[in-house]
């Protein structure tokens, strides 16, 4: 999501998923598929942000723990746990990656131009990883800045 597109009135499909009860949104154009939990392979000495690999239909895909960057506590897998496979450019390279979510809720149409900034006060989200909040029924959903969120090098994010 670039800032420019946020200003014009445009409707976009977003995927709403939950992490520890909070609703998050990601542009559907980034979503490759949604899977039931599959076995993961831990990579020893890897960062907590990218701790493991999964086999998605014959392709080895890194599993990214976005809770690390969103400063959230880990959660135990449940019946509703889903793997969301995304395909997006990471540092300019088209990359497929997977994130573990507590539940996938729905695909909704949302007006990106109505994206509201997160109020400074009381926000617990690191601002570089979120673009704003969108209305989701009576609730709010955090619209994630995928470019920064999935950047492999956290120092680069801090600078930008």
């Amino acid at each position: 999501m670039t800032k420019a597109s946020c200003q014009s009135s445009s409707y976009e499909m977003v995927l709403i998923f939950r992490l520890s009860g909070e609703a998050f949104a990601i542009s559907v154009s980034r979503v490759h598929e949604i899977l039931d939990p599959i076995p993961v392979t831990e990579v020893p000495n890897a960062s907590a942000f990218a701790p493991a690999l999964v086999n998605v239909r014959g392709a080895i895909v890194p599993l990214i723990d976005i809770r690390q960057r969103l400063r959230m506590q880990p959660e135990r897998p449940s019946n509703s746990t889903r793997l969301v496979v995304l395909e997006l450019p990471v540092a300019g390279i088209p990359t497929r990656l997977a994130i573990m979510t507590d539940a996938v809720e729905e695909v909704a149409e949302t007006d990106i131009s109505a994206l509201e900034p997160i109020p400074d006060l009381g926000s617990r989200w690191p601002e570089q990883y979120v673009s704003g909040v969108i209305r989701h029924g009576s609730d709010l959903a955090i619209f994630l800045d995928t470019e920064n969120l999935f950047c492999p090098d956290p120092e680069r994010v801090a600078q930008s």
């Binding site: 020893p44 000495n45 014959g58 080895i60 890194p62």
Partner: protein, 656 residues
């Protein structure tokens, strides 16, 4: 040049290869000038001239002709070979490549032909051959070039019948040029044979229907006439000497067993040119096949009949894999060969006498690695010659032979190829590096780095201790580029140097193969792959007695002490409580090292999938693979794993 005729493209590519080979031939000539070698050069030039004229590279053909003249004289023993001649020949060969790269006759080629360098080159060639400079430019060369006036010998009359193959025009053949060249041999009388020409409504413009009959009066031998048609090997060609008596009937079959055409045919049958992308495609497909086959063999274990079929398939897949990999493997000699010229040119430029010794050129390495290796090696050789090797006076003062030596060697060790560049020069000046590093802020003035740590600094961007920048090196760009290339290939660099004695730089590169033989090991619930090439043997841990001696952890295996690493410790996992455990003994940096695992599961063919950017920096792994059951297993990179673990252990030791 998008609509370039494929035949012309093939000519350019082939000529390029021929000219690359020519460089080697010329350099060989410097040490060993036997007649065979000279003949080989002559043949090469002749081939390029002939085919160049045929494919519309007239400028190239003209120039090559003069070059060929010089070698004709050498062949006849009228000219001897010296360094100056080799210099000239090498430059002439470079000029030929430049002409070739113009892509045929045109303004670019003409500009090159008339450039002062080219004229100087020609003048130098004429000086050797004794020809007149006035012949240098202009005119229709191929014809004029072989003008019979210069030659001796009795005139003979030849009857030549030449009927190009019907599709020859489509392949870029130019009968007009050939006939013109024929005219260059002497007095010629050509008549066209239009008997095969159909009516206008049936005529296909891309087909050739014509044949020619020529009567040639020349003092040249029959072979010279044959040479004109050397590339028209599909054509019907008959060359007969005409007696004073009535002309004999032309026998079209007589050309069948002529050596020139036979040679060309055989050459094209020896090898096939394939774009590298196609090889990559095969490799990808093969990778999928290997993974599918692993899954199949997992499923087949319950059914004996099926299992035997699966085993057969496994055998075939292995064979296919080895064959495919061997296509991709090239001897490193290909890169090494280029450096003879580099060293020779630099010797002249720097005024130093340096011998290049290459060893282990037969070591094979994946094509992708070879392609990227050439540039860093050039940088390192330049460095060795400019900074390493001293001037002849300094060498004499130090009691060394005035001739410097650069030794380039390659060998395989486990899953790695080691490339070493060694010079007998002045060695690295640790103090100067230290001083420069502090000045550049790379090192604090209190730091006490080890010598090898200091030497690593020469790879920092922009680092150079050279007092002056020469055209060869000293800008500090080269070694930085070397390191980034080697890093990108997942290799490493070691520097050893002794002041006054010389410097040795070793590149360790994985034989990055897309598929390797792997040993599957289990650690807890996780499965890892150890490249089989690095494995020496497997033993039970109980049989190997653990020995702790002055803090060092060693295993005693058949009375030999072997250092070992507990993989769960290396991976930061909780220690395994399983028993018995096993030790995989691997080769690493020329020594033996034990890796302790819970169990050994067996062998498999492992398709290496490289890590994404999220895991690229995780040390100790070469990538990951998918096992038969669909799970992902990590491939252990023994060298980086061991190096890091041992370095950490060494760091901890003083503290403990």
């Amino acid at each position: 040049m998008d609509d370039i005729n494929p035949a012309i493209g093939a000519f350019v590519q082939e000529a390029q290869e021929i000219l690359e080979g020519l460089e080697d031939l010329l350099l060989d000539l410097e040490d060993r000038s036997d007649p065979e070698q000279i003949d080989a050069v002559f043949r090469t030039l002749h081939t390029v001239k002939g085919s160049g004229a045929m494919f519309g590279f007239g400028t190239l053909a003209r120039f090559t002709h003069h070059f060929e003249d010089a070698f004709d004289r050498i062949r006849a023993g009228r000219l001897s070979i010296d360094g100056r001649l080799i210099d000239l020949s090498l430059r002439a060969r470079d000029h030929m490549i430049a002409l070739l790269n113009c892509g045929g006759d045109g303004p670019q080629a003409t500009a090159l032909e008339e450039s002062p360098e080219a004229i100087a080159l020609l003048a130098a060639l004429f000086e050797i051959t004794g020809a007149e400079v006035s012949r240098a430019t202009g005119g229709n060369a191929a014809a004029e070039a072989t003008s019979p006036v210069q030659q001796h010998g009795a005139l003979r009359r030849w009857l030549i019948r030449f009927v190009p193959e019907v599709n020859a025009l489509r392949n870029g053949m130019r009968p007009d040029l050939l006939l013109e060249e024929l005219g260059g041999l002497g007095q010629v009388d050509i008549s066209a044979d239009i008997a095969a020409l159909p009516g206008m409504d049936e005529l296909e413009p891309t087909r050739g229907y014509l044949g020619w009959t020529a009567t040639l009066e020349t003092d040249q031998p029959k072979s010279a006439i044959e040479a004109v048609f050397i590339f028209a090997d599909d054509a019907e060609l008959a060359i007969t000497e005409e007696m004073i008596a009535p002309p004999p009937k032309v026998d079209p079959e007589s050309s069948e067993d002529e050596p020139p055409s036979g040679k060309v045919k055989e050459k094209s049958g020896e090898s096939v040119r394939v774009p590298a992308v196609k090889l990559d495609e095969i490799m990808d497909q093969l990778g999928e096949l290997v993974i599918a086959q692993a899954r199949l063999s997992q499923m087949a274990s319950a059914d004996a009949e099926l299992e035997s079929v699966v085993e057969e398939i496994e055998r075939l897949v292995t064979g296919l894999r080895d064959a495919t990999l061997s296509i991709r493997m090239l001897p490193i000699e290909i890169v090494f060969g280029k450096f003879r010229r580099v060293v020779r040119d630099l010797s002249t430029e720097l005024g130093k006498v340096v011998t290049l010794i290459t060893e282990g050129g037969e070591t094979e390495i994946d094509k992708t690695v070879i392609d990227r290796l050439s540039e860093p090696l050039v940088h390192m050789i330049r460095n060795s010659m400019d900074h390493g090797i001293e001037s002849a006076e300094a060498r004499a003062a130090a009691g060394k032979p005035s001739r410097g030596t650069v030794r380039l060697s390659a060998r395989q060790e486990g899953g790695e190829v080691l490339i070493t560049i060694e010079d007998d020069g002045a060695g690295l000046d640790a103090e100067a590096i230290r001083f420069k590093a502090i000045e550049r802020g790379l090192l604090s003035s209190e730091a006490q780095p080890t010598e090898s740590e200091l030497f690593q600094l020469i790879f920092a961007p922009g680092f150079s201790t050279a007092k002056q920048v020469s055209s060869v090196s000293g800008r500090g760009v080269g070694m930085d580029a070397v390191r980034s290339t080697v890093d990108a290939l997942r290799g490493s660099i070691e520097v050893a140097s002794r002041r006054g004695t010389g410097t040795r730089v070793t590149l360790r590169l994985p034989v990055t193969l897309a598929i390797i033989d792997g040993l599957l090991v289990r650690l807890g619930n996780a499965v890892f792959v150890i490249p089989l090439a690095a494995v020496e043997e497997c033993v039970e841990l109980d049989a190997a007695e653990r020995e702790r001696e002055s803090g060092r952890t060693m295993l005693c295996i058949r009375e030999h002490l072997v250092p070992f690493l507990d993989l769960d410790e290396v991976f930061g996992w909780s220690p395994s409580v399983e028993s018995p455990r096993r030790v995989v003994i691997v080769k690493f940096d020329g020594q033996r090292l034990g890796l302790v695992v819970d169990d050994i599961l067996g062998q498999n063919q492992t398709v290496i999938k490289t890590f994404s950017q999220y895991h690229r920096d995780v040390p100790g792994f070469a990538g990951a693979t998918i096992l038969g059951d669909g799970s992902v297993a990590l491939i252990i990179d023994v060298a980086t794993l061991a190096r890091r673990a041992l370095a950490e252990r060494a760091e901890r030791k003083p503290a403990a």
